[in-house]
């Protein structure tokens, strides 16, 4: 079975290579965004610091967030949407593979491609231009990798969940906008949660979006101690479980509806 998933991921990866000429444009776009953010932070922080955060820290923070956002899988919403509209979903249901896992490994192929051809070059170029600090502690790296996996899983489940919800509302893009809005604010990808006031920080802590940007970056930068990291990993795992249960519930409902409608 593992071999089948591996094949799906490879297929998705090579599907991306058809668009490799556009990779440069994407890298340019990412560098621009990082550059804008750094310019803002430079204007705000100058040579000083706020809450112990200086401009060097914010450069690293912006770059990590730009990179993580390229790996997120919430765009899976459009893949499911297309298949629901065209009815192709039926053929996927007949395969002896779990549908969400099939989607996940397909998306993973995209992510691997993004990492190799967009994230790594972006980081390299940004490192040349802006400078960039690397973590020193080995356990930080391990924790960072785990936090990335949590980000992948949560973004995937969120996208998949919204796709299933859109099965009833029949409009994916509006729901995607709303989720994107929540991610913009509460993932901390632009404004780190350190700078949130107490009540906004409370809301952000109650939501799963911080795992899509703020948490990996904070871990990478060594801004969390071991107990905080453990707590975050536990919290992330609980979120994965909750979202997974929610998708299972919606999925079985959607299937019932599909069967009733006869496809």
């Amino acid at each position: 079975m593992m071999r089948a998933y591996y094949a799906i991921t490879c297929k998705a990866f090579f599907r991306n290579t058809a668009y490799r000429s556009e990779v440069w444009l994407r890298i340019f776009g990412n560098i621009s965004i990082v550059f804008i953010q750094i310019s803002i932070w430079r204007a705000l922080l100058g040579t000083g610091s706020l809450n112990g955060i200086n401009i060097e820290a914010m450069i690293t923070y912006s770059l990590i967030n730009a990179s993580v956002s390229m790996m997120l899988m919430n765009k899976v919403i459009y893949v499911v949407d297309d298949k629901l509209k065209t009815g192709n979903i039926i053929s996927d249901l007949l395969k002896p593979i779990s549908y969400p896992l099939l989607l996940f490994y397909d998306e993973l192929g995209n992510v691997v491609f993004q990492i190799m051809f967009t994230v790594v070059p972006t980081i390299f170029i940004a490192w040349l231009i802006f400078g960039f600090s690397f973590p020193t502690e080995p356990y930080t790296i391990v924790a960072f990798v785990i936090s990335l996996l949590i980000a992948l899983a949560i973004s995937f489940l969120l996208g998949y969940l919204i796709a299933l919800v859109s099965f009833w509302f029949l409009t994916t893009f509006a729901l995607d906008w709303m989720v994107a809005a929540l991610i913009t604010v509460f993932s901390g990808s632009f404004l780190p949660l350190w700078f949130f006031s107490a009540e906004w920080r409370f809301i952000a802590d109650m939501l799963p979006f911080q795992f899509l940007g703020f948490v990996p970056a904070a871990i990478y930068m060594g801004k969390m101690d071991a107990s905080e990291i453990l707590w975050m990993i536990m919290k992330g795992s609980v979120w994965i479980l909750i979202l997974w249960l929610a998708t299972q519930l919606l999925w079985s409902r959607a299937i019932k509806r599909l069967v009733v409608q006869g496809g």
Partner: protein, 263 residues
Amino acid sequence: MNIRLFSYFVTLIIKSRMEYRGAFIIGAVGQITGYAANYLVIWLLLQNFDTINGWSWTEIAFLYSLNILTYAIGASFTYTPMVSLDQTIINGDFDKYLTKPLSPFTYYLANLFNIGYIAHIVISLLVLLWSITQVDMNWTAIKLIYLVLAIISGSFLQAAGLVVIGSLSFIFLRVRYLFEIFFKLKEFIAYPISIYGTLLQMVLTWIIPLAMINYYPSIYLFDDSVLTNKILGVVALVIGPLGFYMSYKLWMYGANKYQGAGG
């Protein structure tokens, strides 16, 4: 095409969209949420820092709204037609725009006018009007007239950007990624361009004059005692219609090439 005919097209488009009222309303809510999130992040940011390069929250809100409002107006007319132009040509559907006693340019724009930007217009106009009451300056009749003209000119300039890229569809096969670059570049003017280095400011003023959309009108309105603000403020009123006229010429050149070189 006269304005009456154009508005009849718009009437039909509204009628068509109202066939799917539910989706339209959910879409509008989604867009408003999306933009509200962007405003919220900037507001949260300025809770910590008071100003970005001397720009207060209300001033930034004004600058930001001017960008969104002019984009929404310009994009209502040009986004959908220009983004779909490459596919329209490839599918052979462009021919239909050359079979009527109308200019293909206005016919094409009228036929694909997008009423969906109304949500953008509502939220940006509300914030703009609110910021006008809050910004620390004296509003005179002349300044209000200037603001109206600046909105018109900015809308033309935003539309011009989309038309220029759309025109390239007649030459290149696909231009989707150029639109993505355009939107990334537009991110630069979400904040006052004074946070960037001199070179980039020059580029955004004279080469890709995006700063004429919101930055120069804003600094003229906030401080008309400086001569350069006055001059650039006037330039900003002229450059929009001029840019749009040039983009129209380029588009017509492309359409002629299409007729000669075939589809």
